[in-house]
């Protein structure tokens, strides 16, 4: 399949807003962690969290234009604007651009806001505003409306595999010539119910440090944010590298055929049940890295790994992995080394053996 160039990146998360903020976090190796109550009415049980601020969206649109847009869609819209700006395409003609948004859980808070109106005031008082905002494709629709992007528009939801799955379709759109560019993004938000679920499934967590390479214990810290990319079939105008492969499958079938001399950016985010499957795919002795401590644990975290991989291509250096040393010792942790033409494979596994990978490499 044809290579796809990364022309621009837009990220917002617990580390801040934009690729510079992400690069800064990579250099510093840590980000400030907030605490949130798992049940809002009961502040006694709190969880660490990496939350995102969407205030910078007002640099792109007036307050009035975005006043009715919820947090989930604001995250998406901000990621999209940052990516287009980074690519030098904001306010450009976007008629031949497709939009694809991936989300593991969708606009959860707005869904529960809708239920609040039903529970508080009865079925007859259900909020039409919250209902229309709770639909998964609301974020992609807001992007299209604000940017006047009238091309193909798709939203996909596949839990941890959402971003890799969306990438499959983005590459095909470019290969088929349906569009000249794809604005591909991933987004997930935090909400109180999610915090409660995490507490029930995993406990409150012993500390505020994620240990992505330790698959024997749960150390996930919930995160939220958006990571967007401008993808193009034109390979020459990119500093971020080109996507050379992407795939999705389940380990109950075949394991993926990945190029030799690959550096693996593991989506390991402190979930032991998901993490154990990396050992099946990643060969012994391979170079690995993991950056979830900078963006948190969220279904679409793989998109942040791709952003970091693209920055590594741009800067010619694999940043040090935050969050501690290797426990198992079967791989070597890549730190401050040069890619040297090697492929960088962003790999994500889930608890049922599903895997998704996206491989990026310096442009030929």
């Amino acid at each position: 399949m044809r290579r796809v160039a990364v022309q621009g990146i837009g990220v917002v998360g617990g580390f801040g807003c934009g690729v510079d903020a992400l690069a800064r976090a990579l250099t510093e190796g840590h980000v400030p962690v907030s605490r949130v109550a798992s049940i809002p009415s009961d502040g006694t049980v709190s969880l660490p969290a990496l939350l995102a601020d969407t205030a910078p969206l007002e640099k792109f649109f007036s307050k009035r234009a975005i006043r009715r847009i919820d947090h989930f869609s604001r995250l998406s819209l901000l990621g999209a604007c940052l990516a287009l700006t980074d690519a030098g395409l904001f306010d450009s003609g976007l008629e031949r651009m497709g939009v694809i948004v991936a989300s593991g859980y969708g606009a959860m808070q707005t869904t529960f806001d809708f239920l609040d109106t039903v529970i508080d005031d009865g079925d007859i008082c259900a909020s039409p505003t919250h209902f229309s905002g709770s639909v998964h494709n609301a974020a992609a629709a807001h992007i299209a409306m604000q940017l006047k992007a009238t091309g193909p528009n798709l939203t996909v939801s596949q839990f941890e595999m959402s971003f890799a799955s969306a990438m499959l379709t983005a590459r095909l759109w470019l290969q088929e010539g349906r569009v000249d560019r794809v604005l591909l993004g991933a987004v997930d938000e935090y909400c109180g119910v999610l915090g409660y679920c995490r507490e029930r499934f995993f406990g409150t967590g012993p500390d505020e440090i994620m240990k992505p390479f330790d698959f024997t214990r749960h150390s996930a810290i919930v995160g939220e944010g958006a990571a967007f990319f401008v993808l193009s079939a034109v390979e020459e105008d990119t500093c971020y590298g080109t996507i050379i492969d992407a795939g999705l499958g389940n380990l109950s079938g075949d394991t993926p055929a990945l190029p030799e001399e690959t550096i693996f950016f593991l989506g390991a985010d402190g979930h032991g049940r998901c993490g154990i499957h990396y050992k099946t795919i990643v060969p012994d002795g391979a170079s690995v890295a993991a950056y979830a401590p900078l963006y948190g644990s969220l279904p679409t975290g793989q998109a942040f790994d791709l952003a970091i991989a693209a920055l590594s291509v741009r800067d010619g250096r694999i940043p040090a992995s935050p969050g501690g040393a290797m426990v198992a010792g079967q791989w070597k942790v890549a730190a401050n080394e040069k890619p040297d033409g090697r492929a960088l494979c962003c790999l994500k596994t889930d608890s049922s053996g599903g895997f998704g990978y996206i491989t990026i490499k310096e442009a030929a």
Binding site: A126, A149, T150, L168, C197, F201, G253
Partner: protein, 399 residues
């Protein structure tokens, strides 16, 4: 990779209020029967009982009993897939020896919205986690893949009411692009209180049986169901010596970029999607035998859609089948695509039930009786929240 390469369809399955199987649905539509009723599976506080099209429990295959660990949406998707695989003559041994992808459209099927759980949570309680575990097990595409032991790519499309159409278009692209040998593509959605209350809150639900394109239409009736089609590469289908039931000839999609819940009044987005699908399929308007329209029965949708059909596909028979099924949201596009395949085979379309009086603002009349159609190509189209428009062009196969 050519966008114009047709993709073979070798099987189709459908379950909805119109019938437990695709032939059953077709028989009831040509028989002119429908039975919208107030919801049975849940109660609401509305004094008006808005009718819906529920799937009776006995429509599910006996080997697929209710399972509290799996959502109703996923059960519907699996039921439709079982029929589609049987129709395609594929058994699990064959299936598991190939790269099989699953692409399913939905809305409710991907939403974490369990009301009972949330009520308890809001009260400060510690609700049981089984609804969340069910949600996490019930991603529709993943559920189908897991049920049949498939290990290829999976994608759940959540493009609101265009999801089913988009899923088929995406899966056709997977086949053309060599991502898999077979793709199971379609849509599934269940009725629930959230969507029932939501559509009423938007004032686009009708308290009468739905009347698509009629002057006196009052809105939609919700429904539930699923449809799945089996798409195959030429190599696989020729190797199996299986007759092709249909072809996905073209797919087009667009976004109005206009409003979250209303279609753009000038229909520019829909027009763009139809043209893209027809260009991709290499079709001209005079080759189109009929259009299976979105036709929800809401004033806005039918006005815009009717005008666009009248403008760019004049004199071509069109219908809405939502009078038989209700609006099945993320499943609608797939169910209507399956009906389109069946009607191409039958060489006729049923009456667009519910229509009586032409709306002068629409200036187009759907078919009002069973109508013979000529030609081997038809269009199935969907419009959705978010301004999404999705269109597929389907061709008649060899059956």
């Amino acid at each position: 990779m050519s966008r114009s390469a047709p993709v073979a369809v070798t099987g189709a399955g459908c379950i909805c209020a119109a019938g437990a199987t695709l032939p059953g649905c077709v028989e009831s539509m040509f028989g002119g029967s429908r039975q919208p009723l107030p919801p049975v599976r849940f109660s609401t506080g509305h004094s008006v009982k808005y009718p819906v099209f529920e799937v009776p429990e006995e429509f599910f295959p006996p080997e697929l009993p209710e399972d509290e660990r799996l959502s109703r949406t996923s059960r519907l998707a699996i039921a439709a897939t079982m029929e589609a695989l049987g129709d395609a003559g594929l058994d699990l041994v064959q299936l598991r020896s190939m790269r099989v992808g699953v692409c399913i459209g939905t809305t409710v099927g991907s939403a974490m919205n369990n009301e009972e759980f949330y009520r308890e949570y809001r009260r400060g309680g510690r609700p049981d986690m089984s609804p969340i575990e069910r949600f996490l097990r019930s991603n529709p595409a993943a559920s189908v893949a897991r049920h049949f032991g498939l290990t290829g790519p999976v994608q759940t499309v959540v493009n609101a009411c265009a999801s089913g159409t988009d899923a088929i278009g995406v899966a056709a692209s997977w086949i053309r692009g060599g991502l898999c040998d077979i793709a199971l593509a379609g849509g599934a959605d269940e009725l629930c209180r959230v969507t029932y209350n939501g559509f009423i809150s938007l004032m686009i639900s009708s308290n009468e049986p739905v009347r698509p394109f009629d002057l006196d239409r009052k809105g939609l009736n919700l429904g539930e169901g699923a449809a799945v089609m089996v798409l195959e590469t030429d190599n696989v289908v020729e190797g199996r010596k299986r007759k092709k039931r249909s072809w996905v000839l073209g797919y087009g999609s667009s976004c109005d970029a206009y409003h979250l819940t209303a279609p753009k009044p000038d229909g520019a987005g829909l027009r763009q999607a139809i043209r893209e699908a027809m260009d991709a399929g290499g079709c001209k308007p005079d080759e189109i035998a009929f259009v299976n329209a979105h036709g929800t029965g809401t004033p806005d949708n039918d006005r815009v859609e009717g005008r666009v059909i009248a403008e760019i596909l004049p004199d071509i028979p069109f219908l809405s089948t939502k009078g038989f099924t209700g609006h099945t949201l993320g499943a609608a596009g797939a169910i209507e695509a399956a009906f389109t395949v069946a009607c191409l085979e039958a060489g006729r379309v049923p009456a667009s039930i519910g229509f009586e009086t032409t709306d002068p603002e629409v200036s187009a009349r759907p078919v009002t009786e069973t109508t013979t159609v000529n030609g081997g190509v038809a269009i199935s189209q969907s419009l959705a929240f978010g301004g999404n428009n999705a269109v597929i062009v389907l061709g008649k196969g060899e059956r």
